[in-house]
Symmetry: C2
Subunit: 202 residues, 2 copies
DNA sequence: TTTCGATTGAACAGGCCTGTATACTGAACG
DNA sequence: CGTTCAGTATACAGGCCTGTTCAATCGAAA
């Protein structure tokens, strides 16, 4: 029963790959089971046999894509002692990765509201963990830490990379600028931002 | 024939307001003529009588919303002579406006791919004109101008405001930080960014 | 060679959407 | 008071989607 299982896995893989293609082009919000079946060259019924619903497909799809496109090693950044070097290293690697896979990721992140709630939560946790590593011991130092954390989250965002590159920058230029935002926010006590948060509504 | 026309206008307004409500909640991508008719308390046929298609509704909808929520006066910024003050003024006013209307704008901008092409183009032109005003005579100075322009475009983005505020900053804090990005990019010659753009693909 | 099971093909009922057509109501208008 | 016409009610044909059922293939496994 070896070749048999192999064929089944092949079918499942074809479905997963079809889902990846749709997610990275029209985006998860416009991806239907009928569409996946058509792209995979398979009956709708076959898709139902392999996956309960679109959310299950989303998970398989994500796993498949991530295996093909490994993200930078976040943990490795923590061995860099000072914040400026760490920010440059992290944002440099991240943006280089974005330059490779951004085309795929943009439709997916655009449709983040269509993600399964657990996937969204997991993504949030990963981003938070990444910020922790970049911040290192700079995290949690009161008001400065709060500001730093917000800037790191923003500087490392896929949309920041895209916005800067769309604006005519090269990826290394964008990375250097974004890294400087983090570094400046962490070193220069910003005048006008010294006091407690203004009372004004956000 | 006065009261008659008035009633017709009222119906048209109800439809437009229904479209606004849907655009600012579920977003243009998920707004259907059937949905608008239901929210407006009107027959689908009545909507067809007033508007040819969703694109025409989009235009009416945009005009209505903008009349209710006037954006900051971009032209007025040009009377501020130096870039740093101009950046602070512009981004401060913009972010304050975002703080008021961001809730409405986010679903609309999220679905920017669903906009009528002409609306998208118009939006692009407005953003470009805004960047020109903020840059002033700092625009067009070769490599520095190119970088400045990209940073201005990014710093003034709705998504930058949202990202920073989501990260825990107040709107004034976010504005001050974003303004500093522009100011620093315009004053400090960034080491490692002096030369021509790297050959590496973006 | 027979059995098992993954996959197919066709069909159904239901949902929401589109654009169009018909006849009807009711109120403003002259 | 009768005409006009915006809006209603209802319907049709068509599109794409969902989830489910049934019988029919077809190939690997025993």
């Amino acid at each position: 029963m070896r070749r048999r299982a192999e064929l089944v896995d092949q079918t499942r893989l074809r479905i997963t790959e079809a889902a990846v293609r749709l997610h990275t082009t029209v985006g998860p919000a416009n991806t239907s089971i009928a569409g996946i079946a058509e792209v995979a060259g398979v009956t709708r019924l076959t898709v139902y046999r392999h996956f309960a619903d679109l959310d299950e497909i989303f998970v398989a799809c994500t796993g498949h894509w991530r295996a093909l496109h490994p993200a930078p090693d976040v943990a490795a950044w923590s061995s860099t002692p000072d914040l400026p070097s760490r920010a440059r290293l992290a944002i440099g690697e991240l943006f280089a990765w974005y330059a490779e896979v951004g085309q795929d990721l943009l439709p997916i992140y655009r449709d983040i509201d269509a993600w399964p709630p657990r996937a969204r939560e997991r993504r949030r946790a990963e981003a938070s963990a990444m910020a922790d590593v970049i911040l290192g011991d700079a995290a949690g130092t009161g008001d400065l830490g709060r500001r730093l954390r917000a800037v790191v989250a923003h500087a490392t965002s896929l949309f920041t990379w895209r916005s800067l590159v769309d604006g005519g920058l090269t990826t290394p230029e964008a990375a250097e600028l974004a890294a400087r935002w983090v570094i400046d926010a962490g070193s220069v006590p910003v005048p006008g931002l010294a006091g407690p948060p203004e009372v004004r509504a956000t």
